[in-house]
């Protein structure tokens, strides 16, 4: 899942894919602001067919947290 997500994040945040690590923080390492995060969440929802309620957005701070979150929701690929 990490490889595919790396591509998605790189595209949404306009940052080089090689800079994206599991432990990268969207805000601190990748320079995303709150609007970028909404953009990212919308494309995650489209790509993985899940719904992410905004109360749960706060816990999605790093790439790893998103991967874990999606696994919890039963996303496999």
């Amino acid at each position: 899942m990490f490889e595919k997500m790396k591509e998605l994040i790189a595209e949404q945040l306009n940052c080089p894919a090689e800079e994206i690590k599991m432990e990268s923080s969207f805000k601190e390492d990748l320079g995303a602001d709150s609007l970028d995060l909404f953009e990212l969440v919308m494309s995650l929802e489209d790509t993985y067919g899940v719904e992410i309620p905004s109360e749960e957005l706060e816990q999605l701070t790093t790439v790893e947290s998103v991967v874990d979150y999606l696994k919890q929701k039963g996303v496999e690929a």
Binding site: D33, S34, L35, F38, E39, V41, M42, P53, S54, E55
Partner: protein, 308 residues
């Protein structure tokens, strides 16, 4: 002028008053609603009791529909959201994020939900979770702002959603209104012009500062903190921007602005206080009643739209 928004809100003119902190209280909201527009009480960081009281006072001054703006980052947001549902108003606008968690409660209370958005993705998301309309707010606005201009943001949001879009940011007269309609907006939201209305309780010195503002007088503070605020240039913004340039910490900068909006609006300290206003301050030249403002805007807009 009929529009989807006038039908939705049960108002005469598609002009909504912005939910400005400290400025948008019951006198102004009621005056705008009585003038045929849609007045809004700005809850900002106020506690629920204040909001409840303001709603009741507004209801004494008008039998026309009005709304409340709920600032989602407020520490009192939960209780304010609850109070609004209990008191009952026609619509809620929301700022600083997504109101998803209150959506169900407000809908059940028969309240329309109109989030203020500054990006297409958030607009799409709000439509999906059941928003009744949207305010697309450009960075010409006063107070907390996004990064896109009204000219570019409004048509992109209009293209992305199927609910009515209310344009905000930089609109202060019939020309701005007509332009917004051309961009595909159904209605407009204005803040700055209503600051100087006769019914506005804002300190005279603040009104004077807005009336005298030139095109270049607005500054954006806090760009580096991720919470940019547009206000009129003064001693306070000069010092703030200097500190910000020197790389002051978020905490240091926040501390500097603490309570400064109140200082300007209530005490009239326009040198040390934060005089929030939009870029349209340069267009606002006259203190009038809300009704005079709205009638003038509509007359001008109708003429322009007929010629267009």
């Amino acid at each position: 002028m009929k529009s989807e928004v006038t039908e939705l809100l049960g108002i005469k003119y598609p002009i909504i008053q912005g939910g400005m902190a400290w400025v948008a209280e019951h006198n102004l909201a009621a005056a705008v609603s009585n003038a045929g527009g849609f007045g809004i009480i700005g809850a900002a960081n106020a506690p629920a009791e204040w909001v409840r009281d303001e709603i009741r006072k507004a209801k004494e001054l008008t039998d026309k529909p009005f709304g409340v703006n709920v600032m989602l980052l407020s520490q009192h947001a939960d209780e304010v959201a609850q109070a609004v549902a209990e008191e009952g108003v026609k619509a809620v606008t929301t700022g600083a994020g997504s109101p998803e968690k209150y959506m169900k409660m407000w809908k059940e209370a028969g309240i329309l939900v109109i989030p203020v958005v500054a990006s297409v993705a958030l607009a799409r998301r709000m439509e999906r979770v059941g928003a009744d309309a949207l305010v697309a707010e450009g960075m010409e606005s006063g107070g907390h702002i996004g990064a896109q201009t009204t000219m570019t943001l409004v048509p992109q949001i209009v293209d992305a959603v199927n609910i009515p879009v209310i344009a905000a940011g930089g609109i202060a007269d019939g020309r701005g209104f007509a332009a917004a309609r051309m961009l595909g907006a159904d209605a407009v939201q204005m803040g700055t012009r209503f600051i100087v209305s006769k019914e506005s309780i804002v300190h005279e010195a603040y009104k004077e500062r807005v009336l005298k503002a030139r095109d270049i007088d607005s500054e954006v503070t806090g760009m580096s903190t991720g919470h940019p605020v547009r206000c009129l240039r003064n001693q306070m913004t000069r010092e703030y921007l200097k500190l910000e340039k020197e790389g002051a910490s978020f905490e240091e900068l926040e501390l500097m602005t603490l309570g400064t909006l109140r200082k300007a609006v209530v005490e009239g300290d326009v040198t040390r206080g934060t005089v929030m206003a939009g870029q349209s301050a340069g267009l606002v030249k006259q203190e009038q009643t809300c009704s005079e403002m709205i009638e003038e805007i509509m007359d001008q807009a109708k003429k322009l739209l007929k010629e267009a």
